[in-house]
């Protein structure tokens, strides 16, 4: 018996021992000074069993030992005033003052903090011990003190299958993140529902309005069992955000934090030197059977005079980012409070008139109770200001494509901008729009208040009322300006006085004001009671009513002076004016929901959840939807036959859930009814025009998209709960997906939407957390890995969408919007191969050369045509992972966060893959130098050619070929932080409880195969739909370096 136990304990603590040896085991016998003594004793657990390998350390020193097989230890060199610290993995650390004792025996109790972790679920909370559905929790520690602009950025990589991709790094560029839970679930909007302090938000991006520093925890509800309580909006998962509150009977604590850093635009590609570019361009021309255009003298001149700074670098700068927060929190016997204020300022990396973004937050969370009453109020105010250039999204592409000729200039000190006509192409006045073209300035204010009142009717039964209101006021002022442009001719510079007025020469400006009002009232009845010690019953019944109103007003004028006053009182144009009666909407949602749970002896769990939603977006007779779910759990480790396991290993729980969730995000407010309008000049009588009716057919049959999700999971802990592992597998079928309606001609009109698509999605996620306390060392590891894969089940005629040289397909049996096109079989090695190979039907074989792309004749018909197109990969990340490691040791703390993707295909187009693309890409980049030539037959890219040549059409003109697809797997060091907390005895001298300083970096390092593209960005929307842009035209990746200070009084 003893031997058996010995073995198991040895296993349990082996890892602990290892750490013990590494960090403290090597130095404990070096002591033996006078005035010290030896202390011995025995360490047992609550059942009296000896604990082996318990670390015993004299606090604040390196003097330590560990217990033997009997739990006994002896430690030398101990002084009376010392403290002994007993630490063992999975147990709570005990510190004993030595005093005069020479024998100190202690009993360690299990550390159940993991099992007791609070998990926020819909309309309530539970603990990790009892949860029987799939919920990930991200706590404040993982979110606070991060140099991020918003909470979405902070959440990247923190939870398994919470996939957050960047669409654009531009800080002033609006909502630029794709947020999805468990991948692609529908062909429409995949955004999860975001609920802040119990109040559902209209859009996921609203979470970015709150101060990340105010957040206590973020819980991600992934399966039907947890999400069904949010009914018709839950099929993409739910993110619950809980803001901080004070704690009872804690004296006021004032925290102050400041964070300052530099955002550095990390441009991942570099033009080759201009002389080299000219040589390469000549080579491309000669390869295409044309004459070189750069003379030796010109190339010599470029070589001799060097290069100008690439335009992209001229347009970009390092920007300052600052973040300051102050909060006061605490509580008395009946009241808790948390009041905070924050200021965030992120400068734009564009040069120009003070572009950037500022956010001000003020929050007050207060609750008070007396007797059976409890009331609380959470009030938040956010003001966000943004100033951005008016220039379009192609700015970056425009900046990127020019060679760095030494004579290219962009602007001078007199405010004149320069274009340059040189040889073929030349450059436009690229910086003019950015610096002189005007700006859009947003100032948005959001005020929200949530008021709660609780009343405990009888023991275990609470009545709760919630009233939440939000007002969002948004304002944009756009000022479009004119500027002077002169045109240089190669090295012959123009006289600035020849400049002509360009840009918005009518000097227009416009205002837009929008207002959203939101009201939500809820009444909840909550019951939780345990009978006869073993029968726990929980029940929740609720009613909720939500309504929204929106209107906007816009106005515009032209011919304005610098003060935006009309230049002469006569010429004013107000075509852009829109009254609030022209843009206003209202919507409402009323819901009943409930949950009933029963558990027996903390062993068997079952829970039913349901919600009935009624929405104004549907025809009255079918505006209701019922969304039920059931979850069951079995804590195997609570069984009698598992008592040994429970003791030796830890907790083990199996759980499963199945249920129905809904999604109504793609349903317009009045899509179910036919709406009418009037259009001008529909017909005429006697030559005079008359207006005509126009009508938009509604679809009365519209209903919610529905997802059925099956989920199984295991929650297990090891090493007495120090190591926890959660694994989930899910299978989800979403049906009634909204797609353009299939309408017969006889119907006589088109209908925008119909519930007809079906999509399957399945995947898994693994989360591992490990806490290791060894002496003064406290390590924390957390790791998550997840995958999801979707498949179109029902769509109809496949949709092939080709734009920007990339083709995607929606076809039954393939993932939604898969890459589609021609497979590449390498490059032609010789003329014989060209003669015999299948080539594109439009290509003149005699013009192909070795080094041109050879395509795979998929259907073996001897020619490459549209029938050879095939699935080429998927652009949604698979095997996404996050890894976070932190430790602290005697005031020093360190954390590193890694995040990445193991599998993803990424299609890139345009000038970044094709040299001299379309003849408007005028420069090559360093990463393109690995092109095919007789000496470099193993090249990544085909031989050089120019636009319009047969080779170019063959190599780059086949829409959607594999040649421009790259492996998008990557590992990124997302964040590193090193901090130091000054010893209390120093800081207390100036009444400071805690003073920590730190330095940190965001995105410092990325490991990926193709470094010229940021692998984290995506050109896809959340449903894998593609806009015109692609990832290389985006704002560069931002890297941040900075530091900060945290102060608590």
């Amino acid at each position: 018996m003893i031997k058996k136990r010995f073995f198991s304990i040895a296993v349990r603590c082996s890892l602990a021992l290892l750490w013990c040896l590494v960090f403290s085991g090597t130095c404990y016998d070096a002591f033996g000074q006078s005035g010290t003594k030896s202390v011995s004793g025995r360490v047992v657990d609550v059942n009296g069993y000896p604990l082996i390998g318990v670390s015993v350390v004299v606090e604040g020193t390196f003097n330590g030992t560990s217990t033997d097989v009997d739990g006994a230890y002896t430690i030398k060199g101990v002084k009376d005033k010392d403290n002994l610290e007993f630490t063992c993995l999975g147990y709570k650390t005990v510190v004993e003052a030595v005093g005069r004792r020479s024998e100190i025996s202690v009993t360690l109790s299990e550390d159940t903090s993991y099992l007791d972790e609070v998990v926020v679920i819909g309309y309530g909370t539970t603990t990790r011990r009892h949860i029987i559905s799939s919920v990930s929790t991200v706590n404040r520690e993982a979110l606070a003190n991060r140099p991020v602009a918003n909470i979405q950025q902070a959440l990247q990589g923190t939870a398994a299958n919470l996939i957050i991709q960047t669409r654009n790094y531009d800080p002033t560029g609006g909502d630029q993140m794709n947020l999805s839970i468990r991948g692609v679930n529908t062909m429409g909007n995949n955004s999860p529902l975001v609920v802040i302090d119990g109040v559902p938000q209209a859009e996921a991006s609203r979470m970015n309005d709150i101060n990340p520093n105010d957040i206590e925890s973020v819980n991600v509800l992934k399966d039907a069992g947890s999400a069904a309580i949010y009914g018709a909006r839950s099929s993409n998962g739910v993110i619950l955000i809980t803001t901080r509150s004070g704690r009872k009977e804690v004296s006021p604590s004032i925290s102050f934090s400041a964070q300052v850093g530099a955002q550095d635009p990390h441009i991942l590609w570099n033009p080759v030197p201009s002389y080299m570019n000219s040589i390469l361009r000549n080579e491309a021309l000669v390869n295409s059977g044309r004459s070189p255009i750069f003379t030796a003298a010109e190339i010599q001149d470029m070589y001799a005079n060097g290069d100008c700074e690439p335009f992209v670098r001229q347009a970009m700068q390092t920007a300052l980012q600052q973040n300051y927060n102050v909060s006061v929190s605490g509580g008395t016997k009946h009241t808790t409070y948390m009041v905070s204020a924050g200021y965030f300022d992120q400068g734009s990396n564009y040069i120009g008139p003070d572009y950037g973004k500022q956010r001000y937050n003020v929050r007050s969370n207060i609750t008070t109770e007396w007797g059976r009453f409890k009331v609380g109020a959470n009030v938040n105010y956010t003001r966000a200001e943004t100033k951005q250039p008016t220039t379009s999204g192609f700015l970056f592409a425009d900046l990127a494509r020019f060679p760095t000729y030494h004579f290219f200039r962009t602007m001078d000190d007199n405010g004149v901008f320069y274009a340059n006509n040189y040889k073929y192409g030349g450059c436009g006045a690229v910086l003019a729009g950015l610096v002189g073209g005007g700006y859009n300035k947003y100032d948005n204010e959001y005020i929200s208040g949530t008021f709660n009142a609780d009343f405990e009717i009888i023991k275990g039964l609470k009545l709760r009322g919630v009233l939440s209101a939000e007002s969002r006021n948004e304002h944009r002022f756009s000022d479009h300006l004119s500027y002077l442009v002169a045109t240089d001719n190669g090295t012959a510079w123009a006289d600035p006085s020849s400049a002509v007025l360009s840009g918005s020469t009518t000097d227009p400006a416009d205002d837009w004001v929008g207002k959203d009002t939101y009201l939500n009232s809820q009444v909840l009845l909550d019951f939780n009671r345990t009978f006869a010690e073993k029968h726990n019953v929980t029940a929740l019944a609720g009613w909720s009513q939500e309504s929204r109103k929106h209107y906007s007003v816009s106005a515009s004028k032209k011919f304005l002076n610098d003060l935006n006053q009309p230049t002469d009182g006569t010429v004013t144009v107000d075509d852009g004016t829109k009254l609030s009666s022209q843009d206003n909407t209202r919507s409402a949602l009323m819901s009943y929901f409930g949950r009933v749970g029963y558990s027996y002896d903390e062993r068997y769990y079952i829970e039913f959840t349901a919600r009935y939603d009624m929405s104004s977006k549907f025809l009255k007779i079918r505006n209701g939807g019922f969304f039920p779910a059931v979850s069951a759990g079995w804590r195997v480790s609570q069984e009698k036959f598992m008592s040994n396991y429970k003791y030796k290993v830890g907790d083990l729980k199996l759980r499963a859930s199945y249920g129905l969730n809904g999604n109504q995000q793609d349903v317009g407010l009045y899509d179910f009814m036919t709406t009418y309008g009037i259009w001008m000049d529909a017909y005429g009588f006697n030559g005079v025009s008359v207006p005509g009716l126009m009508f938009t057919m509604g679809n009365e049959a519209l209903t919610w998209e529905k997802s059925k999700t099956f989920n199984v999971g295991v929650d297990a802990s090891f090493f007495k709960n120090a190591l926890s592992v959660n694994f989930d597998y899910f299978y989800k079928r979403t049906s009634d997906i909204l797609l353009p309606a299939i309408v017969t001609g006889v119907f006589g009109a088109s209908i925008a939407k119909e519930n007809r698509g079906v999509l399957d999605n399945q995947g898994w996620e693994l989360t591992v957390n490990y806490n290791l306390v060894r002496g003064a060392w406290n390590h924390n590891f957390s790791f998550n890995l997840a995958d999801s894969m979707n498949k179109v089940v029902k769509y109809g005629t496949p949709a092939i969408n080709s734009n920007d040289g990339v083709t995607v397909i929606i076809q039954e049996g393939l993932p939604l919007n898969s890459y589609y096109g021609y497979k590449v079989a390498g490059f032609f090695s010789g003329y014989e191969e060209i003669q015999s190979a299948a080539i594109p039907s439009t290509i003149d074989r005699s013009q192909l050369r070795p080094g041109d792309v050879r395509y795979v004749d998929v259907n073996n018909d001897g020619v490459i045509d549209i029938n050879d197109r095939t699935y080429l990969g998927y652009g949604f990340p698979r095997y996404t992972f996050g890894f976070n490691y932190s430790f602290n040791w005697k005031g020093l703390d360190f954390s590193i966060m890694l995040q990445g993707v193991l599998k993803r295909t990424n299609a890139i187009r345009g000038e970044l893959v094709e040299p001299f693309h379309s003849d408007y890409g005028l420069t090559m980049y360093e990463h393109q130098l690995d092109y095919w030539s007789a000496d470099n037959t193993g090249a990544r890219w085909p031989r050089l050619s120019t636009s319009g040549s047969v080779s170019s059409s063959n190599n780059w003109g086949q829409p959607g070929s594999e040649i421009n697809m790259i492996n998008g797997a990557y590992l990124r060091v997302k964040n590193i932080q090193i901090g130091y907390t000054l010893p209390k005895k120093w800081t207390q001298k100036f009444a400071c409880n805690n003073l920590r300083i730190y330095v940190d970096a965001q995105n410092p390092l990325t490991i990926t195969r193709y470094g010229f593209v940021d692998p984290e960005t995506t050109e896809f929307g959340s449903n894998m739909s593609r806009g015109g842009a692609n990832s290389v035209r985006n704002y560069p990746t931002l890297r941040y370096w900075g530091g900060g200070i945290n102060l608590t009084f």
């Binding site: 008021f451 009513q545 843009d583 017909y683 119907f747």
Partner: protein, 550 residues
């Protein structure tokens, strides 16, 4: 405190939005029909969708009068017999008709909601019913049996509806037209501001047309007679000048049904126009691909003024209608005011009269005389394929700089009624000198023929005479393809061989299709009798059967 809690809830309840929402920034059924201008807008949409210039001109391509091009591939394929059941010409006809029915029934189904004076509403409803009959004539003529709707279908209904026999629909057409012919105003009672709206005469003439298409000559003659005798259904007469008729006669006594356009103050501010471009000489059109080349066979139909047949390229002294219909090599054409181009023969830029060259040799000579001339046809597909262009309905003074004309087009005119009457009387064995003098004689006289050719020729075999007269009089007005069908002559060798003249112009000897890529129809005129029910429709509705021959 308790009070406060309830106040909360109360506040929440009173200020929220109800679950039943109607748009607050656009109209719904609940309020749209309350406004007279909205009801009228529904009527005007009906007019808009009922018939348009592209359809008016496009049907000519389905006949042996006009050769289409790559630009009109869908129609050309129908004419040459190459179209499949997926052909775009078939589905566009089908869809356009049912879209019009959707509009009509959207209004008719909401009659009870319309907040209109009774007489205004009655007239509106009658016009809508006329449009519906017009649309069913289109459908039954081309497709035979079709799904028959008198109210809007739901989407599921539209996916299971079967075809109704054409006979049943035709009797509906006749009774509807008969009924509305008593409700609508007479043309003489129409104020000028309502020029273009349907009248009693429209209903009667349309009914005559419907009978004619069924070869029901007895009833056709009865309907025609309603317009020829007495004033109960309006007052009609032939215009004096044929040429003038297509310049300004659209509101004159000959006009019965028009397609309307709109402008404000002239060519500078055209609100609604039709594109003359691909149909008229390219130097005054938009210079794109020609979609409309009249055939030599049509040209040959126009006789010399003495009634004798003309040689291919003999353009002197022809039937006056020829000059108002066809642009030929060496003809003179007015240049649109708004058109800024330097054309052979014009005085300065965009003014006066110019000489139109359709023969490349002549064109080249003219350009050699003045290299700056802008009368070149750049590329063979931008040039007439036969040596002829349409000039009917071309009026230089109504064309804007973009090539759009606002001149109304006459879909039904009184000459058609006279010709229908003549044909019906002949086919029913009632042709007499009196009938001839009231119909054929008037028409030939206006065409400039001498008395001898205008006189009643007598004899039993006037059928081809009447048919040829009809072809010339109504040339390029979209009727020929229907006439060929009802005469059942589409398979006669002479007509099927029309295509031969496409390849080399008999008029100029020029190989107009100078490279293989432009030859769209090596086959001759080869149209099938029925349009097929579009395949896409049958894929969505398994209850739809297919027409014979497909």
């Amino acid at each position: 405190m308790k009070k406060n809690i309830f106040l909360f809830f109360l506040l929440g309840l009173v200020s929220c939005v109800g679950l039943e929402q109607y748009p607050t920034n656009s109209y719904s059924d609940a309020n749209f029909w309350n406004y007279e201008e909205n009801c009228m807008a529904a009527l005007y949409l009906g007019y808009n969708q009922c018939w348009n210039a592209d359809q008016y001109f496009g049907n000519n391509i389905l006949s042996d009068d006009v050769y289409g091009s790559r630009h009109t591939q869908n129609s050309t394929d129908v004419a040459t017999g190459l179209a499949t059941t997926n052909g775009g010409r078939f589905s566009s006809e089908w869809n356009a008709c049912y879209q019009e029915l959707r509009t009509i029934h959207t209004a008719l189904d909401n009659q009870h909601r319309m907040n209109l004076p009774e007489d205004v509403k009655n007239r509106l409803v009658a016009e809508m019913r006329l449009m519906r009959a017009f649309t069913y004539i289109r459908l039954t003529t081309w497709f035979g049996d079709v799904p028959f709707l008198t109210t809007n279908p739901t989407l599921p209904e539209s996916k299971i509806i079967a075809r109704t026999s054409a006979d049943k629909i035709k009797s509906f057409i006749h009774s509807e037209l008969e009924e509305v012919s008593h409700i609508l105003p007479k043309n003489t009672d129409l104020p000028a501001s309502e020029n273009g709206r349907f009248t009693r005469g429209t209903a009667v003439a349309l009914n005559a047309r419907a009978y004619l298409l069924e070869n029901d000559f007895e009833n056709c003659a009865k309907e025609c007679a309603k317009l020829m005798d007495g004033n109960e259904y309006g007052t009609y007469a032939l215009a004096d000048s044929y040429a003038e008729l297509f310049q300004s006669g659209h509101y004159g006594p000959e006009s019965i049904m028009t397609i309307e356009f709109a402008y404000e103050g002239g060519v500078d501010n055209i609100k609604r126009s039709w594109d003359t471009g691909p149909r008229i000489p390219q130097s005054i059109g938009h210079g794109g691909i020609v979609a409309f080349s009249p055939t030599q066979e049509l040209v040959d139909c126009f006789r010399k003024i003495d009634g004798s047949p003309a040689d291919d390229a003999d353009y002197e002294g022809r039937d006056l209608r020829f000059y108002a219909t066809i642009a030929y090599n060496g003809c003179e054409i007015q240049i649109p005011e708004a058109k800024a181009c330097k054309i052979i023969g014009s005085e300065g830029v965009g003014k006066g009269v110019y000489t139109c060259w359709t023969n490349p040799v002549d064109e080249k000579k003219a350009q050699e005389r003045d290299p700056a001339l802008n009368d070149s046809y750049n590329g063979s597909q931008d040039r007439t394929q036969t040596g002829y262009y349409n000039i009917k309905n071309y009026s230089a003074s109504t064309i804007g700089s973009g090539g759009g004309s606002y001149k109304p087009l006459m879909e039904i005119r009184y000459a058609d009624v006279l010709l229908m009457y003549a044909e019906s009387m002949f086919e029913t064995g009632n042709m007499t000198e009196d009938v001839w003098n009231r119909t054929m004689k008037l028409i030939r006289h206006r065409a400039g023929f001498g008395d001898a050719w205008c006189a009643y020729p007598g004899g039993d075999d006037l059928r081809q005479t009447i048919r040829d007269e009809r072809r010339c009089e109504l040339a390029l007005e979209g009727r020929r393809c229907f006439d060929l069908r009802r005469w059942a002559v589409m398979d006669t060798p002479a007509i099927k061989a029309t295509g031969a003249s496409y390849l080399v112009s008999r008029a100029t000897g020029a190989p107009f299709l100078d490279n293989g890529t432009n030859i769209q129809c090596p086959a001759s005129y080869n149209i099938k009798y029925w349009f097929p029910v579009p395949q896409g429709e049958r894929d969505k509705n398994s209850n739809l059967t297919q027409n014979p021959g497909w």
